[in-house]
Amino acid sequence: MRFRAPGRLFDCQKYGVFSLINKKLESAYEAVVDIDDGATVLVSGFGDPGMPFGLVDALIEKGVKEITLVTNNTGTGYKGIAALLQAGLVKKVICCYPRRVGSVVFEELYRKNKVELELVPHGTLCERLRAGVAGIEGFYTPTSVGTNLAEGKELRVINGRQCVLELPLKGEFAFIRAHKADIWGNVIYEASARNMGPVMAGAAKISICEVDEIVELGELSPEQIVTPGIYIDRVVEA
């Protein structure tokens, strides 16, 4: 089983639904405990909204080393991803914008050549992850043609437009921050915190979602669910 809490009894007073599937775990540490050194971890967030701080902190606590981090930004100040970088646990960052005001930790590591950077345009990062979700083994995009980010990539003219070949991006684990999840891993988000969550959830072998609240089955309307539970393996409350 990809989730490790099958059959755990969940409080089902409200709707009286008992399920043998229960993806709820009691702590962020429990959710990350099987992540090994060298793992590729996708972390949602566009700045702070969507950033699963609890899961990142748990990864630091476990001390997983040589991580390849796929993310939007590299954190600001000394919390979240910045703390993970500062702890020296990250080997490589695949990212679109590692230079926000206050990204001091990453900048320092970059200057000292202590972290590898693969810079990917944001839309291409999204689509590479989506290809990873959807079983697409590559796609052609006009983004970055004629720039130094297209160097070394296969070019092809399609419909009269020069395009570059981009390959899918997947991870062993994904960390998602959302608003609510049920015990089957169906997820809804809040406002602009949705950002990279839905796509990263599907692009990893095991996806862990940190939420404000875990609710009973039936609480979330099937019409409103943004990320279907099939993509989420573990849920924890923040």
């Binding site: 702070d48 810079l119 689509e127 043609v145 602009s192």
Partner: protein
Amino acid sequence: MSKLQKLSREKIAWRAAQEFKNGMVINLGVGIPTYASIFVPKDKEVIFQSENGILGVGPLAKDGEENLNLVNASQQKVTTVKGACFFDCVESFAMLRGGHIDLAMLGAFEVSQKGDLANWTLERTDVPPAVGGVMDIVAGAKEIWVLMEHCTKDGLPRLVEQCSYALTAQSVVKRIFTDLAVLRVTEEGFLVEESLADLDFDTLQAKTGAVLRKSPHWKPLEVPDIKQDNLQV
């Protein structure tokens, strides 16, 4: 001779916003373009898209009314207008790259006479490069306008024959609004449609790194005074 009164950053944005068409969906880059959202003409309604996943971005949130999960791509706490919606970044970049956004307004380091855009890296070795979504935005938005100062702080031209900085994209910029002029990128290079009345054409040419042509429909560039209390970007 009196000192030339260049347009402020706000006035550059005001001038560009007068060109909005009703119903346009617009993505605003950081810098001068952010001001354009407060100068939408009264008889026009446009929808602002933010690439982190919002259609219908409203004004900045007031103190005490911020939602920490509701920010624009520059991480400013914003509000939404009635009719707004949220989506994820995959959907957002499908909109942008797929040709569904009418207009992207961006800042730039340089624009070439062919419309090449350089606005993402100064190629310094001491700071990491950061591209964000701009390469996807310029690959797909129906029109790209650049809002910027005509020259650098050191007085070097930003409008050039060929960009010296690394390109963001080739031949994408259609219109340019600067503190001195309004220009269009044509097959024959830069066409000056408007320029400040007390700036003679030779002086404008001297501040530009490529040959300028004056439009037969040239007009003086005029922007009314902007009240400071309107400048809540």
